[in-house]
Symmetry: C2
Subunit: 350 residues, 2 copies
Amino acid sequence: MTGSGPGSPLGLHRVLEPAGVLPQAAWRLDASPGLWPDEVRVRVERLNLDAASFRQLREATGGAAPAMRAEVGRIVAERGKMQNPVTGSGGMLTGLVEEAGPGSPLGLAPGDRVATLVSLSLTPLVITGGLAGWDGRSEQVPCRGHAILFGRSIATVLPADLPGPLALAVLDVCGAPALTERVVRQAAGRAGGRPPVVAVLGAAGKSGSLSAVAARRAGAGRVIGVVPSEAEAATLRAAGLTDEVVIAVRGAGGPAAVTVVCVDVPGCEGGAVLATADGGTVIFFSMATSFTAAALGAEGAAADVTMLIGNGYVPGHARLALDLVRCEPGVRGLFEARVSESARDGKVEA
Amino acid sequence: MTGSGPGSPLGLHRVLEPAGVLPQAAWRLDASPGLWPDEVRVRVERLNLDAASFRQLREATGGAAPAMRAEVGRIVAERGKMQNPVTGSGGMLTGLVEEAGPGSPLGLAPGDRVATLVSLSLTPLVITGGLAGWDGRSEQVPCRGHAILFGRSIATVLPADLPGPLALAVLDVCGAPALTERVVRQAAGRAGGRPPVVAVLGAAGKSGSLSAVAARRAGAGRVIGVVPSEAEAATLRAAGLTDEVVIAVRGAGGPAAVTVVCVDVPGCEGGAVLATADGGTVIFFSMATSFTAAALGAEGAAADVTMLIGNGYVPGHARLALDLVRCEPGVRGLFEARVSESARDGKVEA
């Protein structure tokens, strides 16, 4: 099906069914290797399944390697992409650029080692070799096959100065610090000279720690890290990323002008709204956020707060996140500990 | 349980189980009539169930009056509030103020006829008389009993110059035009003199028509109304609320700087993002919005758009919406048609 005309930058020409929807909403994509002029083909080395999808697969199959391999293989063969039909989510992948169409705007060349920054849920994918290298115990799946990038499928060349698993873990959450940076900078500009208080829920995690240092660099007056346990509080204090580490925000110098939700558990909407001052902003990055709970919760408290759906894409997000890890030893330490834990336990945390 | 000390303005003192959560998240509230000092008791005249809850009740019970009455009665008796356990949503109510505590900040006096602007899902409620006046066919439920308003439970005195059902229909969606007003005004200030293009998905509906005229008054250069059918297009053209009426936004002078989603069906997230220019803003008012679909959809299209969760509360929202209906004959006509349709068909539309 190699195209002769230009492809759709969104990949509409790869949608097989139902007709007319976007690749992410599609049930099935055409993942054949021939390229349209603005596409790029990647030789896949590794899939990084998203946490929700991995958990569902493990529960549905029991978690044994043969069953996990068979289930992922079945989904990809059936749908032409690795989108978990239950959770709707995907993940990301890494690999080597094999061929770049003459009209591709991505700036990639054969041989580049890249990570995709768009979801697997919309990326055409073919798996070969039956995932033989995967033990089923980690979200990081060694994989052979190919994937297709569209004109607007953002990918980034993996940095040479950071270990691969560390870079992957950073790129996986790079939208959070970029949007936090932007919102805190705007708040700092508006506040009439008073640097804004910023609260980060889940500040000891990956997206949370990056968001905390991004907030400070963007002009936050006081960064409050909110964590669920004494163990995480100790970790966060040792890393020195926030001015204050607490369970409750208002006693620690809040309410906040900007509240960043990085905790991947349901039910944080009301607390985040109440932690925020009138006229302030809440940014929800957690995929466990309920739209209804946030909308009705703010209304119910008559809270005049702006609530943002965390967009995973902000121009320059990958570079900003990687730079934060390079320059902030506290963040790097947290990330390295999480990455090595994951390798040891055979899992990856949010 | 009449309180002697001050109550929590959020109503935490009325939560029976589970302990420590907000009234909206609670399974059961204390709806006893004795007032804490900052509370107000309302003699209920009418419940206005939200559309999602009403639909669920009708499907679950078959829709016959005795079954509908029994089910709503059972929920309220069990939970101390009318929060549909399946949809999680509530609605609003109207009634007469019976008693206002000496510390109430709401400015209400006995005899005032009010509508609550916070959800029934967090309002303590007792029903008496078995809903005998309800035929089960309308979301507007004639009702006897009492409800409790907390210090932060926004309520508004019903205007004398508008028919009750019309005023109720306007107040039900008054958060949408208020937030649209604010966002469009900000966009108009930023654009460097070029009035922003605004797209309203579902512009022939109640929240959509109000949002369209609010956008124009806030400085929109061009308002594009997007509707799903020729019938709605004809209605919207006749009302004259928008500059353009279309199915697809880009051909009509878009992409938009601000896109307002007022369509209450799932699956609009990707289309709304694509209708919006880079650097623009999408406001999601539809309760059918999926947080995940919006977040991943924008990321998948590498779309640098700000996505707002429509907060039902904006200071001054009730007055702004009522004023729009008073001043804009086109909006008033649409509302009156919808209200009389509802009365005739025994249902209320979003």
